[in-house]
Structures are given as C-alpha cells and as structure tokens.
Amino acid sequence: MKNISKKTKIIALLVAIIIIAGIIIILTKGLNFELKYETAQKIQLYLAKEFNISDIKKITDEIFPNQDVIIQTVEIFNETVGITVNNITDEQKSNLITKINEKYGTELQADEIEITNIPHTRGRDLIKPYITPFVVVTIIILIYLAIRYKKLGILRTTALVAFCIAIAQMLLLSIMAITRIPIGRITIPLVLIVYMLSLMGITTNFEKKLKEKNKEEEI
C-alpha cells in the first residue's frame, strides 16, 4: 500500500470532522430552509399606486427586524405588494399597515386585511426531480470512467469515483448545515458546482495516474 502523505491525512481528517459535525447538526437542529420553502404567513396590500420594493423593504426592516422577509409584486400593474414572513403578529400587522398608509397615503384597515398561511415545501419534494437525472448521469459517467481507466482497475476506479462524488456532496451538505446556509434555490446550483468540480478533480488525477502507468509499461 502506498504511503499516504501527511497533507492528505490532514485533509481527510478535516473532511471527516466536518461531515461528522454536519451529521450531528442535521440530526439535532435540522437543516435551515429558505423562507420560500418554510411555513410562513403572507399579507397582501393593495396600494393603488406604483411602489418600489426598496421602500417597502425599509418598512419591513423596521417592523420585522432580524427576520427574513420576501417582498413580491402581485399582478402586472405593480400596485399590490405581497409580504411573506415566518410569523406576523396582530401588532406587527397593525404597525405595518400604519406605516404603509403613511408612506402611500392609503386608507388600509388592519381588520380588513387577511393574513394567509403558506404551507412549507417538503425537502424531499424539492430534491425529488433531481434524483433521477443525477443517478442516470452518475451511472453513465461511472461506466465511461471504468472503460477509460480500465488499466487502473475497473472496480477500483468505479469505487473511487463513487466515493469521491458521495464525499464531496456530503461535505457540501455538512458545510450548509454548519454554516446554516439555507436550503433553497441555490442548493441545486451548489450541488452542480461541487459535482462538476469533483469530476474535474477525479479525471485530472486519473489522467496523471494513467500517464504514469503507461510510462511504466513502456519502460
């Protein structure tokens, strides 16, 4: 068995620690989901005039400090705003409407405005459409790599590629869990980036080994 360098050992240890820490956090605290996919409450206000999201943002920052808020324009006329927050209390609703009335000269009444509940999106529903494409593409790539690097050992190559891809994705998930990066729209793009980087890393490494092997054979 080849000697594993000290640098590789340290990296492997670090990766193992991050993954274990990530698993512990996922099991205890769970993952942090983007507000768009969380259970939330939404309030919709008709302002009867065009508005700027940045102006609404200033108001919501005052009413819902330190909370994620989604501000969306409803319908094409740019006169209705939808504000989504984790939880809206009656006091917050009342304050929000007062501020909006002050800013836009509207006469909205708190008791006439309804708060609607937005159900969460299940994590498995988010990833479901991506499972088949990734499984299919991984199988095809494994077959290709096994053929291309058969000199390095088909089984060894396949196992190593599968292991590297899995570890890279686990590492990403663990980092997201530890750093509390929300699971949402950027998750799949991140998965894709990590997937491509691991593939590039693997092929570069295998190419190097294949060249060495070919040289050895020539000698």
Partner: protein, 488 residues
C-alpha cells in the same frame, strides 16, 4: 497582411459584441425596437402564476319526496309547490365532514400533480396546508396557463348511467386510459376523437351494457335525437381501437321496451363527467374490445378550430386519466406573482460577473502582453456569442442556467490561458476535452431530462462546450498562430 487578418478578426468580434450586448435597433412605428431576441427566464427569476385552492364550502339543495327519494328537475318548483307535494328540502354540503381528511387532501394534491405532468408541465411548486386542506400551486405563466388552471380543481368523476333509472353502470374505476386521436379526411378536414379504453372489468361491463342497450332500428327521429347538448359531440361505436377514422356508427339506437301503443321506447345510457352530461346514447352492436370512441365537434379544416377542439379533448383525457378527486376544491386565489429576485439584484449580479471577467482578462493581458490582449479580445467575442446562442436556442434561464454560463466561461478561460501559454495546441485541446468529457456527458444527459432547470443547465453547458470547441479552433487559434508567425 497579418495585421489585416488580426484587425479583421478583431472587428468581427467587436461587431458580435455590439450585437450581443447592445442589440440591433430598427424603427418600428416611430420607435426604435431591438431586433435581437430577448432572454427568457424561468419562473424562479421571472415570476409565477399562483393558485390557491380551498375546500368548497357550498351546499347543494336537494329535494326529496315523501319516500325519501331524490326528485329530479326541481329547479322551477316554488317553496309552496314543494310543500303542497309533500317534498322536503335538504341542504347537503359539497364536501361532507367524512371527506375532510388529511389523506384525502394528500390524495388531491397527488392527483393535481399528475394532471400537471400529463399536461406537459414539469416545473411547478405544490404545497398542502394539512390543517385546512388548502393547496397552493405555482406554475410558469404562458399561453397554456389558464387552460391548465381550469383543469386543476375539476373533480374528474366519470360515470356511465342508465338515462332513466339513474343507475350507475360504470365509473372511473373501470377506465384504463383515455387518449386523444386525430382522423384526417381529404374533404371534411380533421376530426378529433376521444378514445376511452376500459380495463378488464370495464371491458366486461361495457360488453354487457352495449348488448343490453342495442339498436333495433334506425329512424330519422333517432338521428335527431342523437345530437347531444354537449357541443355537437357524437357517439361513435368503434370496432377498431387503433384507428380513429375507422368505420363508426352515429345512429342512435334503442333498447327494446314495449310502450302502450305498441311502439318501442328508446332507452339510453348517459355518460357524465363531473355530473355534467357528456353524451346520451345507445349502441348499434356490442363493443367487445373495451374501447369507446367519441368524435369531438365536427370535422374542420381550420387549424385554430382543430387546435381548440384538440385542447378540449386533451383536457378531458387528462382529467379522466387521473383518479377522481376525493374532495371538491374551488379556486380562491389566482394571481401572477413576480419573483422576489428583483431586476436590481439581477443587474448587480451582472455587474459583478462583468467585473470578475474584466479582472481575469487584465490578468491575462499582464501575463501574456500582446498575446494576452488578443486572448482577451477572443474571450469577449466568445462570451458575446454564447449569450446570443442562449437566446436563439430558446434556453429558459434559471439559476441553474446561470451556473451553466458561469461554468462555461470559467472553462473557456482555462482553455484560452493554456492556448496562449503553449505551442502544441492539438495536445491542449485533447487534454482539455479528455478532462472535461465527464462534464460533457453530464451536459448531454441533462439536455434530455424533462425537469426544466436541469435541462436548461444541460443545454447551456452543451452549447457552451460546442462553442468552446468551434470558436477557439477558429478564432483563438487563428489569432495565436498569426501572432506567433508575426514574431518569427
């Protein structure tokens, strides 16, 4: 001569860049209009049609006679008449308390998802509020959106009933598959058929029904009676399941039943979809293959008319290919909601990307001097062409699509950097494509995936790799070779 060659290539790149980033403007009705195709964005960037379905809390008024049987045709009865006849009025909720269960809500959600998929919609968000049963559906806004939404809350109850006794002879459980078929006739045009295929049990029932309700004679009156209220839908009794234009019978038939005057009374079956009459008919001969075929509307040569009928038939087929919803829903909210990713945020991302590219190109120029400048010009041309390709290949840009563009730009930078560094260009190309081949495989496979964000990523990557191969071979290589030749 070499100077002219370099200058020509640079001018061509400048032209492409101007077209890609600034557009080509022509005067259209006193205003200038960009003739270059605009980018199309996915729903996570552009916005969605959001539909909120709530449980229908209406009640149906049912009038029963003294024996407790439901009385038909009571719309014109006044309260006094009801009392006089000894009838009683009952208010029955559309959704009884028994059906208001989480399992039924989940089932409804699954049925809606299936309907969306059957209508070719692969990118949607669906959420269920388990406490209230409310379902929120978010889909992309396009020409089909309204038609798709109109199908969302339909219950989809299918019934074949005896027209007189109202006995349910068949229902959704007997259906296997409903298909839309086209029949083309040289003179009358295209006819749209709704092909209902029944399962094993359904086929047995259908054979029995069609034997019982068989034709005994054909009269003019019968032909008139055959016209149904359901938009000229004709019943056709087919004997061949695979051919929509096969010989059919449009004669209305009668079951043998002696009337007082010795004539025979027509007895028919009514096909109902969601309690609305689809058609009322009887059969010329027993149907043994378990397939019923109906022509929708009349034959037409007008494309719009054919498309409209086909759309209607497809909607019915979609509903019937899914189970009936266990709960009745009504559309409580149906509105277009813009994405929370604002134009300002997109612009900011654009500026950051341009800044990074500029920085990377400066590094290239510092590193390779004049050759670096040529490499940078070539890179700008590549970026411009890629952005044009993205627009003209109808790629719908999602966040994944943007990641694809960024990945391609990085990979191209790596390749250009290597091309400027070394002489053996063939070796560089070989090495580059061998190392990126797994990613090329990934791109090709993803192009065939129906999930829009993934397929868009695949398409961006595929066209990106295609461009990397062709563009660098023609432009970057030429610039490097001309420059190298000049130095020699």
């Amino acid at each position: 001569m070499k100077k002219i060659k370099i200058l020509t290539i640079i001018l061509a790149i400048v032209l492409i860049t101007m077209v890609s980033f600034f557009g080509v403007y022509t005067q259209v009705q006193n205003r200038m209009e960009n003739q270059i195709k605009q980018y199309s964005y996915a729903m996570d960037i552009e916005g969605t049609r959001s539909v909120r379905l709530a449980l229908n809390d209406e009640t149906n008024t049912i009038i029963k006679d003294a024996q407790g049987n439901e009385v038909e045709d009571t719309e014109e009865l006044t309260d006094e008449q009801i009392q006089e006849k000894g009838y009683t009025k009952e208010e029955i909720p559309v959704n009884s308390e028994e059906v208001k269960k989480v399992e039924n809500y989940k089932k409804s959600k699954e049925i809606i998802e299936k309907r969306l998929k059957l209508q070719g919609l692969d990118n949607y968000i669906i959420k269920l509020e388990e406490n209230t049963g409310d379902i929120i559906v978010e889909i992309k806004e396009n020409a089909q959106t309204d038609s798709i939404i109109s199908n969302i809350n339909t219950v989809g109850k299918f019934e074949v009933i005896d027209s007189e006794t109202k006995e349910v002879l068949m229902n959704n459980n007997d259906l296997k598959e409903v298909k839309v078929m086209y029949g083309v006739d040289g003179t009358s045009g295209t006819t749209i058929y709704l092909n209902m295929e029944f399962d094993k049990e359904g086929t047995k029932k259908l054979k029995e029904i069609t034997s019982t309700y068989k034709t005994i004679e054909e009269t003019e009156e019968n032909e008139n009676a055959e016209e149904t209220e359901n938009e000229n839908i004709e019943e056709t009794n087919t004997t061949n399941s695979t051919n929509a234009t096969n010989e059919t019978s449009t004669e209305t038939t009668e079951e043998v039943e002696e009337l007082k005057d010795g004539t025979e009374k027509e007895k028919q079956v009514t096909i109902k979809i969601d309690d609305s009459e689809f058609t009322t008919t009887s059969f010329k001969k027993p149907v043994e293959n378990g397939i019923l075929q109906f022509s929708m509307g009349s034959s037409s040569t007008d494309l719009d008319s054919v498309n409209e009928t086909a759309g209607r038939a497809t909607r019915i087929a979609t509903i019937l290919n899914c189970e009936a919803m266990p709960v009745r829903y009504e559309i409580e909210e149906n509105q277009y909601i813009y994405s929370d990713i604002t134009n300002e945020q997109l612009q900011m991302a654009e500026y950051i990307a341009l800044g990074v590219i500029a920085l990377a190109l400066i590094v290239l120029i510092i590193r390779y001097k004049l050759l670096g400048i040529l490499g940078a010009v070539s890179y700008v041309g590549f970026t411009s062409l890629l952005m044009l390709i993205v627009r003209y290949t109808n790629i719908v840009l999602s966040i994944e699509g943007f990641i694809g563009i960024v990945a391609i730009l990085i990979l191209n930078y790596i390749l250009v950097n290597k091309l400027l560094k070394q002489d053996n260009q063939n070796e560089i190309y070989k090495d580059f494509f061998i190392k990126t081949l797994p990613i090329i495989i990934l791109s090709i496979v993803f192009c065939f995936i129906v999930w829009e964000p993934i397929s868009n990523f695949g398409m961006v990557m595929f066209w990106g790799f295609f461009l990397i191969a062709i563009y660098n071979m023609i432009i970057t290589n030429s610039l490097v070779k001309i420059k190298a030749g000049k130095e020699k």
